[in-house]
Symmetry: C2
Subunit: 325 residues, 2 copies
Amino acid sequence: MTPAPDKDSPVVSSSSPATGPLPFGRLAIVGVGLIGSSLARAALARGLAGEVALADADPAVVARAAELGIGTSFHADAAEAAAGADLVISCVPVGACGLVAEAIGPVLKPGAIVSDVGSVKAAVVERMLPHLPEKDRFVPAHPVAGTEFSGPDAGFADLFEGRWSILTPPPGTAEEAISTVAAFWEACGANVETMTPAHHDLVLAITSHLPHLIAYNIVGTAADIEEVTQSEVIKFSAGGFRDFTRIAASDPTMWRDIFLNNKLAVLEALGRFSEDLAALQRAIRWGDGDALFNLFTRTRAIRRSIIDVGQDTPSPDFGRRPPGK
Amino acid sequence: MTPAPDKDSPVVSSSSPATGPLPFGRLAIVGVGLIGSSLARAALARGLAGEVALADADPAVVARAAELGIGTSFHADAAEAAAGADLVISCVPVGACGLVAEAIGPVLKPGAIVSDVGSVKAAVVERMLPHLPEKDRFVPAHPVAGTEFSGPDAGFADLFEGRWSILTPPPGTAEEAISTVAAFWEACGANVETMTPAHHDLVLAITSHLPHLIAYNIVGTAADIEEVTQSEVIKFSAGGFRDFTRIAASDPTMWRDIFLNNKLAVLEALGRFSEDLAALQRAIRWGDGDALFNLFTRTRAIRRSIIDVGQDTPSPDFGRRPPGK
């Protein structure tokens, strides 16, 4: 089984396939956006729970989820969905997860496991744990999967297939709770790895938060250049720019909360990025072609590794063609 | 027909479908990489020339091009390919285009048009024009299309379909030469726009050169962080990082030459990017959620415009799924 993290070793283990008490009697999902609605669809499609109770603070989202039929009950109130559930998963932006924990804490049935899907983990533990009655049954998780779209219509059952879900149980979490959450993610098609919240936040600052920040920034910069029209930026975006616009189209609330809640790790990653960029700027200014060539050669190898482990497609240009082609 | 650029108006016109003396008797392509081999395939597939003569300085590339059968004759010597051609297109990295012009200049038949496909244009004019016998028959072009792969095997006939090719004829270029080159690109499936070399270099610094520089830089930064292993960066790359690795896998020689040959515009774009990034860094440090949210909302609109004009696919996550899905 997956052990709880140890202070001296940030990455604890890759999980082996875990067995757990699946299917759940009742699974509750609070927040029915891209991730929440994908989890709901996966749970229904794969028979992972008898009941799939969905809650959202936005009445329009509750109504739409019911229309889509992606759960077995639909609630405006998180506590109502969580009551009687074996596993409750918060799928709201990180800034709102404390409110969810506060709402569900009092109604959780004994032994219920609580989890979440937030993209930062130390802040989630800090915000949610104080409100939960059984501290050893909280297993924070982060599925490293998504698209640039948001809302209940954007989700799909296969979203987690072949992707990683990172569990970050605080010290003292019950082994059985950890293995149950691991089994749930594996049943959704994901690979599971366990690490400390702090290490997670460092790793994701590099692999996700910094790339999003850079993408948002470059799209903003391009929009503001007065010598080049917006229409030119859009027309000639196939030269590279459009790759950045995809992730710069991600949900603004979710990403605001991520940056505000992983401040130190993001600022550290950003500091290194800016240092390296200054060196590259200097190489361009002084015409140091060798420095440029060496970096550009090194980065190719990383792309190959990502394709080798199945985390991206090897099709040229992501396989995308103009519409109709 | 497409007029030659005027000093006071950087963007001269979008072309209307031009007619020209297609098919050519002989088309010569010097440099058989991704773009050169795609042009050769497009010309053959669409019957744009009676002969398609291919030349490359690398004997292995010449042999491979012959093996692939993507031309009608194959040459180690650029002059041999260019002799007797109606249109000669240099498809070598920008740093080598002066050598190509020097080699072909003496053998060009009277009235032959010379063009290129370089990603920077002012430097190309400066390097090639002095070696060409008929100054008014040089029509530099830049197809804004490509993939992260290189070499003769990477090309395909449809690469230019629905993409833009930007012509940057120097003042005084013959109208008929410009319209012939425009007709050639349109016959390859591209849209054609004409602008000055200087304006092209500004526009592409933003839409292509800066994005590549940023992508190369972030991939380098991620590889160097010692608290996070390379294997973690690769495993969890689906959080955003992998989008950057695609363009950071582009040809190192080509991109070194671009940065060295569009120095001023790239440094200017980079300066703005860094300024904007510093402001974003400050917003994170001081917890200014509104500043973050406002930027992240603004950038979504640009993504939508790029999809609306057909320069990217609206499929979530570029439509890519793990291998086998």
